[in-house]
Amino acid sequence: MRRSAQLNTQYQARYTLWGLAALGVLILLIFPLLFRQQPYWLYIASQALFYAILASSWALLAGYNGQFSFAHMAFMGLATYASGILGRETGFLAFDLSPWVSIPLGVLFTGFVGLVIGYLCLRLRKTYLALFTIAFAEITRLVIKAEVKFTGGPNGLPLKPLLESTSYVPVYYLMVALFLGTLLAMYVLVRSRYGLYFQAVREDEDAAAALGVNVVNTRILAFVVSSMIAGLAGAVFHHFPTVGLVVPDEMIIGRMSLVLAMAIIGGSNSLIAAALGAIFIHFSLEWLQEIPLPAAILRTLEAHRATLESLGFGLGENGLKTNAWRMVGFGMLLMVTLRFRQNGLIAPLLERLSRRHVIQEIAARRRAREEEEIEVSDEPNEQVGGAS
């Protein structure tokens, strides 16, 4: 009976998770139908998926492997710039390549840079690794900004369009495919033996090495894979006709901190939670730019416009503009998460769902074992084999 109940709970948990996953995919697929008249939100959704890929690939590196890197946006930018330069018609290293060719080459280039940086970072831990990667990211950004002839400098580098259509719908669906594809690839990786190695190295490098895990290769693999995925997301997204340009300030540390915060708020020990965190934060920040309010309330607030503006708010046509306050709220959410929910806000919910049957099974087994031990302790004491 107990076994049967456990299996039922296990299947329920599994079906619940698959059901939620299917619902998530369905929402992604029908989103353009719901927002057909609002292309702006389709663009925001594509951008959210771009951030979701960045956050989940950062979670692969930091959450699964314990490498707290700030160079993720730099890798995103490197692949995009490499692809853009290879696709140019004129200039140094201009091969006029199609984006379908230049993007994979840009991603490979980023993988190579990730290999070098990963190797250089091998002996660096926590704060030192963070500082090293900040330095690398800033050097990369500043060099790109300074090399005006080669990269376009602060004005950015125009990129060939990946698609002919300028509609937001195909762009969105391509981004959905990229998001689901990269998420699936990372999921397969973390479920493989390499995922176990990643986590073992994160937990204790010496113990992992003593058990036969090649720590150097494991750390480098995590660095290269996460860099390449960030690069892929950046190159594809920026080659969309709706974007078409990459500027060096996208690699600024503030933007990196945004990605990092998205992953942390979602839960950096889960790829899906980090991705959901990014989607939630990106949509929230966009929505908070101008919080829609009923006309009656807007009229009332109009009388207090000067006071609102002196407090840093503003009044738009349809609602209250939060200006910098939305970032204050975002920062506070991050602080609260770090203080009270270090596993993030979404990851624990997913874990509770996925491990519900496991927790019940362990509790039942613990009870059974305790009952056995009580029975044993009722028997006459036995000398412990020679131990003092």
Binding site: Y197, Q199, A209, V384, S388
Partner: protein, 246 residues
Amino acid sequence: MKLEVKRIVKNFGGLQALKGVSFTIDSPQLVGLIGPNGAGKTTLTNIITGMLAPTSGEIWLNGERIDGMRPYAIARRGLGRTFQVTRAFRRLTVMENMLVPALARNPRADRHAMEQKAREILAFLTLDHLTNEYARSLSGGQQKLLELGRLLMLDPQIIILDEPFAGVHPRLQRTIYDYIRRVREAGKAIILISHDMESIFTLSERLMVLNFGELIADGPPDEVRRMPEVIDAYLGRDEEEETEHA
């Protein structure tokens, strides 16, 4: 199997932690390694397993020189160890902890077969009811057992156990005793480092004593325990015996 430790010296700045330690293990046997705190036992273990590089000296395993190799390469060649302070992978489940060494040693291994093997070992270690529990939820003693279980999954020929009984509940100590006996019967060599003299003298077939970085004794436990230098350095004299001598 053959482990040869030849003239190992280790200096930490001005301190010489090991002063030319040499010994050979060339058959399945249980070798006790004792010595006072700071004698160099853990340093020697770290050098043998590649965690530390010796200042001079050589280590050979089955005819291959292994000093200078990385720890993972030494582990894959069949030399496993536990740590004095338990080092379970806390945020991995017990089963995942068990699979790490099995797949690292043999990447082509069938995962389901490895899981089945892990379940059998966990049942022997009385941890089978915790298979899917996170290691962080285990007691200190259970984490020690988990470390021992991981070693069996690595399947080394030579095992170094660093203080396996320290801080362990007597009931779990009995399981560790059974574990050591089973591993020994499986034809493996064990180096047992412990301050628990009862367990050392009960289990060891050969006893080595380190004192201030020097191997001052190496032989059958009954002979070693009577050596005056060993008594002076580590074991001490019984109060009654001292009174008689006085």
